[in-house]
């Protein structure tokens, strides 16, 4: 039933009057659905903006082309990038300065669709990023909706606010990154069935994406370790299904030249505010020096495409496998052309450095 709700609708709608909230995913073609997972203000929307921004130039040298579907979406993502870059334009030359990022959370669920196509070829792959407010993961009013989303999405992109993970002995980690609810939704909705069983649903990929980790660039091993410790229950559950789910840690540096500095303190105590009965630092302070750049922001997209194409290849080789989404790929008029791009993309995957780790890899990406 949940699937039908998803594919039927034509636009995203948040019905605040209903006690049980619903969200409808729209697409002109059957898409690859990617759910952005993470707590409030941990940077999910920023990730999307930088992924899109970076992927455009990253794929520019290849035969692949990525385009945004619709003007509104283009404007939203461009505005977000402008906001990020705006922090840099406010600082002068090479002088160090401090800033406090905008703390306004996204209140509405959004859907961003990127179309990936091959120059000169027909057909495209639609990547449908679903970005719901962080509050949905902790509010029972949205539980059914989130359950349906987690169950049906092919890829989960778990955004992690790294300073909250690492600083102050991690006391703000749970409040910001909402590890327990995230783990809960994954455990509840990942009903894995062996891949060679005809009743199987499509395999999934979960990418843990540490954000705002510029401060820790020289010690990303520690960030990696902290993720393993924090998401221990989640990893344990997923390791029991290591033949059906790709799990990777893919840090991205969305704002090189900027670093988290400290949580503002008063009388030697971090100044806090309370949300959902949990205390969070009120004023995270970042420093900025030099000009804007970023690193590895295209990687989540590269991982997603390689994962998808590897699976398509396997489906083609083992016709007894079945999957709703990959049926669509195999019916794509340019399927052979996409599969030819796979190895090229695979070479661009960052592995085993600066915090990158493919934790389990049944798809051999």
């Amino acid at each position: 039933m949940a699937l039908e709700i998803f594919w039927k609708g034509m636009k995203a709608k948040l019905d605040a009057d209903d006690n049980i909230e619903s969200f409808e995913v729209t697409s002109s073609e059957t898409p690859i659905n990617i759910l952005m997972v993470g707590g409030r203000r941990c940077g999910k929307t920023s990730v999307l903006a930088t992924i899109y921004s970076q992927a455009t130039s990253f794929f520019g040298t290849d035969e692949l082309v990525i385009t945004s579907e619709g003007l509104d979406q283009e404007i939203t993502l461009t505005d977000k990038m402008d906001e990020i870059k705006g922090y840099f334009s406010a600082s002068s030359s090479n002088k160090i300065s401090e800033f406090e990022p905008d703390n306004t959370p996204s209140l509405e669920a959004s859907q961003y669709t990127f179309d990936v196509s091959i120059i000169g070829k027909r057909g495209k792959l639609a990547l449908n990023f679903i970005d719901v407010p962080g509050e949905w993961y902790t509010n029972s009013n949205y539980e059914k909706t989130v359950n349906a989303l987690v169950k049906t999405c092919n890829v989960l992109l778990v955004a992690i606010d790294t300073p909250h993970l690492m600083q102050e002995e991690g006391i703000y980690n749970e409040a910001r990154n909402r590890i327990r609810p995230v783990t809960h939704f994954i455990r509840k909705n990942f009903d894995f069935i062996p891949l060679n069983d005809k009743k199987t649903v499509d395999p999934k990929m979960i990418l843990f994406v540490p954000l705002k980790c510029e401060k820790y660039k020289e010690e990303m091993g520690k960030v990696n370790k902290a993720i393993h410790e924090s998401y221990k229950d989640c990893f344990t559950y997923l390791s029991g299904n290591s033949d059906k789910c790709v799990v990777a840690i893919t840090p991205i540096f969305t704002m090189e030249g900027s670093k988290f500095s400290y949580f503002k303190k008063q009388n030697r105590q971090v100044i806090e505010y309370e949300i959902d009965k949990k205390k969070l630092p009120k004023f995270p302070i970042y420093t900025i020096q030099g000009s804007y750049s970023n690193l590895y922001c295209e990687q989540p997209l590269v991982y997603i495409l390689v994962f998808m194409l590897e699976y398509a290849k396997k489906l083609k080789e083992k016709t007894n496998w079945f999957g709703r989404f990959f049926d669509f790929i195999l019916r794509n008029p340019s399927v052979e052309d996409f599969l030819k791009q796979k190895d090229n993309l695979k070479n661009k995957i960052v592995r085993d450095k600066e915090g990158y780790q493919i934790v389990q890899n049944p798809m051999d990406i």
Binding site: I96, Q167, S261, Q289
Partner: protein, 655 residues
Amino acid sequence: MLQSISNLDNRVIPAFKSSDCTGATSRIKNVVGQKQPKAHITFYEQSEMIQIVQKYFDEIFGKDKFRVDSFEKIGSFNISDLKNQIAIGSAESAKFDHLKKYIEHFDDWKNEVFKGFIDVEDENKIQEYVSQHNGETENDPKRVNFYKYLAVKECEISCEFKNSDTGDIVLRDTIGLGDTSIGIEGKMLDSIGKHSDAAIIVRRPDSLVGKLEEKDVELYKKLNSEFEKRNMNKWLFWLVNKTTKDSPFGDNSDRCEAFDSKIRDYNWNIADHKIVNVTDSNDVNDNFLKSVLETLIKNIDSIDNGILSDLNEEFAKLYEEFVKVRESVNGILKDVFAIYGKNTSNIDLQNTIGDTYSKEILGGIREHCKKDLAPKCNLSCEEFENAVKEKLTNIYDFIPTDEEIKSLAKQGNQTPFTVYARCTDILRNKIINDFQTLDIVLDKIVNDEKKNVVDILANKSKGKLANLVSNSENLTPNEWLEELERTVSEEEYPHIFDALEKFRSFAIKVEGFMIFKVRNSLTEIDPRVIPSLTSDTATEDDRTELAQEILIWLRQKIEIIYEKIRENVRNLYSVPNEALFACVKDLFDRVTFARDDSSEYFSLMKEWENLYKNNLNLLFADEYEEFTKNQATSKEWKVIADSLRKFGDKKYFEI
């Protein structure tokens, strides 16, 4: 001068111009209403007289050349024979003249010795006891010599002073220092040190050539070395006695000025010095005495403190003597109890002794290790962890303020880099200094654990050693252990002594296991790691900008340092627990398994057994009392031993 103050005359206070006249020292009390002077005269005992005379013999003829075997023998020495043995004009001649008086006039004073004391109210009679003669010159037929003073130990005279409102003042006369009697100087020092709150040195310079002489300087040095710790500048007065032209000594006023000015030049450590005509009652009472009393009232606290300091020194000596006595008595008792110990095989006491050291002490320490300390070994020591976390939080306070940075930038030819480096220098030192104060917390943790072990050793229901060394509340564990070590001598119980000493010396110092970790965490603010600063220091505006820029860097760096220190020390929170376990385990091993390499066979248990058996009377007082109930003397010994133990607390020997 004493006459001027007290209103007494030469009969009671001899002060003749002719020669040395004071025979015995007097104390003169102001008793309001006592118009007629009254003397309470105390005499030496026979044994004291023998000692006095023997001392003259020893000093004149050499030690023990002549022995004064009895009191009566004093009068039996042959003066001529004795005189032949000393050279005429030698230094001993003057002393011999004194000895001669004791021998030749033995019959004149010997009867007084038997009296103990007498009270005399007749002033003419008093003179016979305190004066050497009646004041007439030697050739004057009216001259009368007195000898009873030789037997006088002390004379206390009560009378109303001229200014009767001077209060409970007591004056103490002493024999002039020019007198050749033996022990005069000692008596004076004794008189000042033990009996006086203040002292007045009276000196009359000669009218023609009088000046401050070497002997005056020597006297001052002597007093200074004796009373340096007693705040001499609060109570010692130097009176320069001025005489007039119509006095037998002539006008010495210019010599007095010279004398007094020399005292001033020397800047002696005394309360005051004044020129006074001691025969002028007004000068003495209204000027000098008034000034002395006012000075004393002003200085009374300091004087008391000086006396207390002296007394505490005396008490310290007394305590040492007490410890010797206690050890002697215990030594005697040990011999008695050693015999007792050998005969206890058939009674329960033998088992009780064994149980006490083996179960209560050795077993107690082992159980404490096993149950209380071992389980905590790998756990964080909460008290220490909290203290470290407090220090960690403190580091934020050490960032220099905006104003401090600007002030640094103003000093000399500073560049942005040198200002930043200076800030980090300050920061590093402050952080390290603060972490070093963790030693205070560690000392407390170690002290608390030592208390636990001392309880096992001392508790009367456990090791009972508090019966040997009182474990009063005001003793720290280390003080108690030190006291125990003094009692458990190294010679008799070398291994127990060694174990106690090592345990007492145990300490955990943060320098050894943590400071280097903290220091290694400070590389972010190492002078070699200078961030890129854009400001320069040319103008006031630039300095403001620079301070802001440096503050941003420091705030960023301090967070990194915080994390690094936290990370680097997090594994050290259990160190106190581990160290305490090791320390107490080491004590257990030493008091249980120590071996003496020099001997073929050694039993540490025997050492423990001896310790308990040798101190049975104290450690097992009740059991011992049962054993000795038929021995009357043993009970007395026990009372003595108990008393000695009871008063063994050093606090009884302190003021």
